[in-house]
Amino acid sequence: MPIDRYAYINRLRHVHPGEKIFFAFAMMLLSFIPNIYINIAIIIIIASISILRAGIPLRFYLKLMSLPLTFLFMGIITILFGTSNKPDVFIIYMRIAHIYIGLSKKGVATGILLFSRSLSIVSCLYFISLTTPMPEFMSVLKKMKVPSLLLDLMELIYRFLFVLIETAEQIYISQDSRLGYISFKTALNSLAYLISVLFIKSYTNAEQLYIAMESRCYNGDIRLLENSYKISYTNIAFIAFTVFTLIALVLWTGGYTS
């Protein structure tokens, strides 16, 4: 999983995870202000920090940004078009029997705003996932008093999914080399085998791991060393400055515009 890799090798890796997450969430919240300028500003700010400061390759970043585009286009197309019995709500329309179908004026307004907001919040999500390794995200959640059972499960699932992905890959390769995926029928059959083996493997792995943990005096609670980070006042000042500038931008461009 390339996103996970970048989380560990990017240049902002050693910045306090709380600062990174707070920054991203502040930007997410600001993105909800229905103002296209603030969204564009946030997309640019986050992209430049991710690419220039964190060192995420431009090509990969663009590829990532293009991932949700299909959903976005399908969703927005659905919103743009509508039906009505009066033609004046439309920019362009056609008439079928008594109903007009067309591109609605309000739909276009919502669509543009939605497009910029989605991309702006998506960049905030990518900022977290590209710069903050998952265990550090979880340590922040721990400080925020997320129930420890939930966190334990998250921690374990995070590790196990790599083990299972590797197993699934190996099974897939071995089936593929015995021509298990040459037709729809064989593919469905092979995949069913793969999934059932994976399920049984998950079960036996859990049993064996429990034995291994028991030998290290496991008693039901998982307690591990935590990394400690220093808070950087420069970063906090930067976050505050960005937030105020963006709010000023909203006020200056006049609040609700699209």
């Binding site: 390339p2 890799r5 197993t167 190996q170 099974i171 390769i173 071995s174 089936q175 593929d176 080399s177 015995r178 021509l179 298990g180 040459i182 064989t186 085998y193 793969l194 059932s196 083996v197 049984i200």
Partner: protein, 273 residues
């Protein structure tokens, strides 16, 4: 000379950008016993996945019987019929509930008529000495039995070339001998066998031709006695000298025997002593 399988200057990069193969060329003669040696992570498995088209080289070419493989659906199916891989961990290769079902997976995918499938399953179970396990559930088998069934899996597809990825890993000496017997029987039938291993003793005593890999490159190749005399090379590739070669050189040094050919196995040593 005509080669049955050939890789030409193959380069491969994993999606994360690490170079796994850096211009590898090999040429395999029909019916030979080939060993590919190298430390963990030298690229042996990646190399093997190229030989039946599971991975497509970023650069370079693959030839089967002198014909370039084109990587379309049809030619891939043809290739995989001819080149079978027995994977390292039988626990991952075996997935069906019973041994018979398991071995029938390949031939069934080939869409062969049922009687032919049955015949093939029977033959390959017999030749791996697992026929009596036919109706057993796979997860009841011992590790050594699983290993043999995983070989039957591939034999049932009747390939020309059979590739074994670390076939002796984690097996006890008794089961290792059983596996080598299977190799030899296949070899007599004219099959080409390619084995990856870090067991230098095995490679030395068994193979006709050896490739040594290191960090995605082939750093040496040749007959066993040639390859294993180069101490420096072995050290670079993180391998050991076979004990027989070491003892042989010691005996030559001490003047106990005369320099001729290093013995391939205990029998040969017995003869020259």
């Amino acid at each position: 000379m005509k080669y049955i399988l050939q890789l030409q200057d193959v380069e491969y990069e994993y999606p994360d950008g690490t170079k796994a193969l850096k211009g590898v060329s090999i040429a395999v003669e029909k019916g030979k016993k080939i060993a590919v040696l190298g430390a963990n992570g030298a690229g042996k498995s990646t190399l093997f996945l190229h030989l039946n088209g599971i991975l497509k080289p970023k650069k370079g070419k693959l030839f089967y019987n002198g014909e370039e493989v084109r990587y379309d659906r049809k030619s891939l199916i043809q290739l995989r019929k001819k080149v079978g891989i027995v994977f390292q961990n039988p626990d991952i290769q075996l997935f069906a509930a019973s041994v018979e079902q398991e071995v029938s997976f390949g031939p069934m995918n080939l869409n062969l008529p049922i009687p032919e499938v049955k015949q093939r399953v029977e033959d390959s179970l017999k030749s791996t000495d697992t026929y009596l396990l036919k109706d057993k559930p796979t997860h009841f088998l011992s590790y050594g039995q699983k290993k043999r069934v995983s070989i039957a899996d591939v034999l049932a597809m009747d390939p020309e070339i059979i590739i074994f990825d670390e076939p002796t890993a984690y097996l006890d000496p008794y089961h290792i001998e059983g596996i080598i017997d299977i190799f030899n029987a296949l070899s007599i039938k004219g099959k080409t066998i390619i084995v990856s291993t870090h067991d230098v003793e095995l490679a030395y005593s068994w193979a006709d031709y050896i490739y040594i890999m290191k960090e995605g490159e082939i750093v040496s190749s040749g007959t066993p006695d040639k390859v294993f005399c180069d101490s420096k090379l072995l050290q670079i590739a993180k391998l050991k000298k076979p004990m027989l070669v070491e003892i042989y050189s010691l005996l030559v040094d001490r003047g106990i025997i005369k320099h001729q050919h290093p013995p391939r196995n205990m029998e040969e040593l017995r003869k020259i002593l």
